[in-house]
């Protein structure tokens, strides 16, 4: 083992500048992979932490031996939601909620730091007067994100707020009637559960290209060694020694890369905390995966890369001469594309009914999305090979012919380069249509308070009395037949004078109808739009990650393609082939599949999103244009990085195999 390590170290160090460059590329690839892997893992952990911080606010089912009453309501200030949890102890020993040192006494309000700041900044008549006196600040265990507005209000069990029912906003779990419970809920509320499912899917979407890319990185550590290892075999090294040396080399490179990737991820955390989901950013501590996970990743990445290296080495070990031989690759089967066609056909058939199915429809849709994603990844190399054959058939210039032949020869490597963008194109196409959702169109100056019909007139009078000094018109809307609160009348208060006047009215109306909070149509719309906005943020994050992978992989694949062929390229150049022709071939072999596949997957994404299209808005067009510009520009730029490499490998007038 000692001699193996020694030999490995010497191979690494003594390999010359170009081999060092290869090692550096592999290291960079592993670093990016590791960073993104940590991101994908941590995203799940962070959402789980959010779900835990959210769980206790939802009372759940009434308990057998209750010790307290819990109710949940959502108020608003300046258009932002405030989560209000009302608590009343039934027995002395009622447990303290998460983030609080003790159970709140009746007449106390505990607030999140962000709400405390806002209460201080705004006149009391606009916010603070809605709640009993502030008694303390909630700890982070009680909070979903650092900027969340939360109030925990202690009340007596007999307080009207602890006995009156609540009406809930349609579809959003931000209200719960007072419930007698024995302990706080710990399981994720349904809504948080949806987020966790979504982030799990996003991780899968990121992991697929990541695995493809990581595999390429692992092979990169081996590819450069092929010839030298074959030479080692020729001089009589045993297969075991060859495997040990190469694996050790790959593992050393990967370990360094994994470490660099972890540092990279840690450095990115401050930026990542600004990704806004569910109305707020993140606690940095939520985005740090913790030592066990980091240790596991640091151990797993080198092992995976080493295993991949061993797999890639089999060819070398089989026969010393086996490496230099390159046969025509077996044709890939068209089944790959049929699979994609089948998924799309099934989706087209089912999509009509999906929107009517509610949450089940969403799940089915997401399953289809994943299937389509995997199918695209399977079909990709086949399509690249097809593109290559067409390019070869139509080629008139040497550069085009060379590009086409390379695509046919190694469609998987070309696919790796464009896979990120192709898969991303799918997401971008999807986003473009979802982006059309309208926002901020509902009235934000009309407060509505739902009340039992028989009490409507009395409440309206009471409201008028409370709104003294506020320029507002009060009216009663009789019960409507449709809608979520069909049997309630609605007292409407139309406030003139902007956001601060609305907040004064909200404050004045606090507690008019116990347990009922006055809300504007804009508030309700905001709740409904949140999920859509978060979906877009999530998709955008996946988009950025895919681009990162695509651009890095374009750079690495381009460079390793040049390194792999350096001898043939150098000799072509000696024989008078202009560098321009080689460079054009190198560019075309990336750009041709990029244009076809990127465009194709964009169209596929548009197709899948079509049933959900709210309208192809301006933001959708911008998303699309940005996708095209960033994707193609980034990839073209990254692959242009191998141009100086091409120049340098062909500048040597006397190429020798190393």
């Amino acid at each position: 083992m000692g001699t193996t390590l020694d030999l490995t170290w010497r191979l690494l160090r003594g390999g010359g500048r170009r081999n060092l460059l290869g090692a550096a590329l592999a290291l960079a690839a592993v670093a990016v992979s590791t960073g993104l892997l940590l991101f994908a893992v941590t995203a799940n952990l962070a959402f789980a932490q959010r779900a835990r911080a959210d769980a206790w606010r939802h009372p759940g089912k009434a308990g057998a031996d209750p010790v307290m009453i819990e109710a949940l309501a959502t108020d608003h200030v300046r258009g932002e939601p405030i989560t209000v949890v009302d608590l009343a102890a039934l027995k002395p020993g009622a447990p303290a909620p998460p983030g609080m040192p003790r159970f709140p006494n009746p007449g106390e309000t505990w607030t999140s730091p962000a709400l405390a700041r806002l209460m201080k900044d705004l006149p009391s008549g606009q916010l603070a007067a809605r709640f009993p006196a502030r008694a303390g600040t909630l700890g982070r265990d009680a909070l979903i994100h650092p900027d969340e507005l939360v109030a925990v209000v202690g009340r007596a069990p007999g307080d009207p707020a602890m006995t009156a029912g609540r009406d809930r906003l349609a579809g959003v779990e931000n209200t719960a009637a007072p419930t007698r419970i024995a302990r706080y809920s710990t399981g994720a509320a349904a809504f948080a559960g949806v987020y966790q499912a979504l982030v799990a899917i996003a991780s899968v979407l990121m992991a697929v290209p990541l695995l493809v890319f990581g595999g390429a990185a692992a092979r990169l550590t081996v590819a450069r060694r092929d010839r030298r290892l074959a030479a080692l075999r020729l001089v009589g090294a045993t297969p075991g020694q060859v495997v040990a040396i190469t694996t050790a080399e790959a593992v050393i490179t990967a370990a360094a890369g994994a470490l660099a990737g972890t540092v990279l991820y840690a450095a990115a955390i401050p930026a990542l905390t600004r990704i806004t989901i569910a109305g707020g950013g993140w606690y940095a501590s939520d985005l740090w995966p913790g030592l066990p996970v980091v240790a596991a990743v640091l151990a797993a990445v080198p092992v995976l890369v080493g295993a991949s290296a061993v797999a890639g080495l089999r060819r070398v070990v089989v026969g010393p001469l086996g490496v230099a031989r390159r046969e025509t690759p077996p044709a890939m089967r068209a089944v790959r594309v049929l699979l994609l066609a089948a998924v799309m056909a099934a989706f087209a058939g089912a999509s009509g009914g999906l929107t009517g199915l509610g949450r089940l429809g969403l799940v089915i849709m997401l399953v289809f999305l994943m299937l389509a994603f995997l199918a695209i990844n399977l079909a990709g190399p086949w399509v690249v090979a097809l593109i290559g054959r067409i390019t070869v058939a139509l080629a008139r210039t040497p550069a085009r012919l060379l590009a086409g032949r390379r695509l046919v020869d190694d469609p998987r490597s070309a696919w790796r380069t464009v896979a990120g963008v192709a898969l991303t194109g799918f997401v971008a196409g999807f986003l473009a249509l979802l982006g059309g959702a309208s926002s901020g169109t509902k009235a934000s100056d009309r407060l509505e308070l739902s009340v039992p019909p028989e009490r409507a007139a009395a409440v309206a009078e009471q409201v008028k009395g409370r709104l003294d000094g506020i320029d507002a018109g009060v009216a009663v809307r009789p019960p409507s037949t449709g809608g979520p609160s069909a049997d309630a009348a609605v007292v409407t208060v139309t406030v003139r004078g902007g956001a601060s006047a609305v907040d004064r009215a909200r404050t004045a109306l606090a507690g008019t109808v116990p347990g009922h909070v006055a809300t504007t149509p804009a508030d309700e719309e905001r709740g409904r739009d949140q999920l859509l906005a978060d979906l877009r943020t999530g998709a955008l994050t996946v988009l950025v990650v895919s681009f990162l992978i695509a651009i890095t992989s374009a750079g690495i694949t381009g460079a390793s393609a040049v390194l792999d062929r350096r001898q043939a390229y150098a000799m072509l150049r000696l024989a008078g082939t202009p560098l321009r022709v080689l460079d054009r071939a190198r560019r075309q072999e990336t750009l041709i599949p990029l244009v076809v596949m990127g465009g194709g997957s964009l169209a596929t994404g548009l197709f899948f999103a079509a049933p959900f299209a709210v309208g192809f808005g301006a933001s959708g067009a911008v998303t699309l244009a940005a996708f095209v510009a960033v994707g193609f520009g980034g990839i073209a730029g990254a692959s242009a990085l191998s141009r100086p490499l091409l120049r340098s490998v062909t500048a040597d007038p006397a190429p020798t195999p190393d």
Partner: protein, 235 residues
């Protein structure tokens, strides 16, 4: 023309005069004179590090000598810019190296057709012209095979076809049989010399192997960057 005339043929195609090249402190060429006649085949021999490859590179316009001149058919070529020399190499010279000069992803016939296409021949004509080389070189039926599916000797014959396809004035070969066993090496040298003669081209071949040199009209011995003495070779 004045000075020593080491030419052997009646009309020298390629002439190198007073060629010198150094790499830092190392002197690779130290005033070499060499002339290659029309359809003449010249072997360059000498110990390792004696400057054989450097001489070949200077004659072929791959490298610029520090001093001296190279003329092709009366035209001075060593002073040309890289672009012009590159065009010259592509159109007037052919190259055969030890191994690895064929692009692995191209079928044999396209490897042969590539230099023709680079010179502006339409693809269809280039491939058609490339195919005519396969029969005479004993490669019939291997037109569509890729280099990885050929033996070392077959691959070298494809390389010979590629070097000769653009109808060059001179073919340069650096250890063309270095990676082959003796029998295959001899067969390859026979094909190389015959094919160049048959196509009205001259041949400059660098080799370690005296038995390979026997296939050439003339052998030039190089030692420490100088030509020793012209030895009449076996025809």
């Amino acid at each position: 023309m004045s000075g020593p005339s080491p030419s052997a043929g009646p009309e020298p195609v390629l002439t190198g005069r007073g060629l010198a090249k150094r790499f830092g402190a190392a002197v690779a060429l130290d005033g070499v004179d060499l002339a290659v006649g029309r359809t003449e085949t010249v072997a360059i021999m000498g110990p390792s590090g004696s400057g054989k490859s450097t001489l070949l590179h200077c004659l072929a316009g791959i490298m610029r000598p520090d001093a001296g001149e190279v003329h092709l058919l009366g035209q001075r070529i060593d002073a040309l810019g890289e672009r012009r020399r590159s065009t010259l190499r592509r159109t007037r010279f052919g190259f055969v190296f030890q191994f690895g000069q064929l692009l692995p992803e191209l079928p044999a016939e396209e490897n042969v057709a590539l230099p023709l296409m680079l010179n502006g021949t339409p693809r269809r004509d280039a491939v058609k012209a490339a195919r005519t080389w396969f029969g005479p070189l004993g490669l019939g039926g291997m037109e569509r095979r890729r280099p990885g599916e050929l033996s070392g000797g077959q691959a070298q014959r494809v390389a010979i076809a590629r070097a000769l396809a653009p109808r060059p004035a001179v073919v340069f070969a650096d250890e063309p049989t270095g990676a082959l066993d003796q029998a295959t090496g001899h067969e390859t040298m026979r094909l190389l010399t015959e094919a160049t003669r048959h196509n009205d081209a001259s041949l400059v071949v660098v080799t370690h192997d005296p038995s390979v040199a026997r296939w050439c009209d003339r052998t030039v011995q190089v030692r420490d960057g100088r030509v020793q003495q012209p030895v009449p070779g076996a025809a």
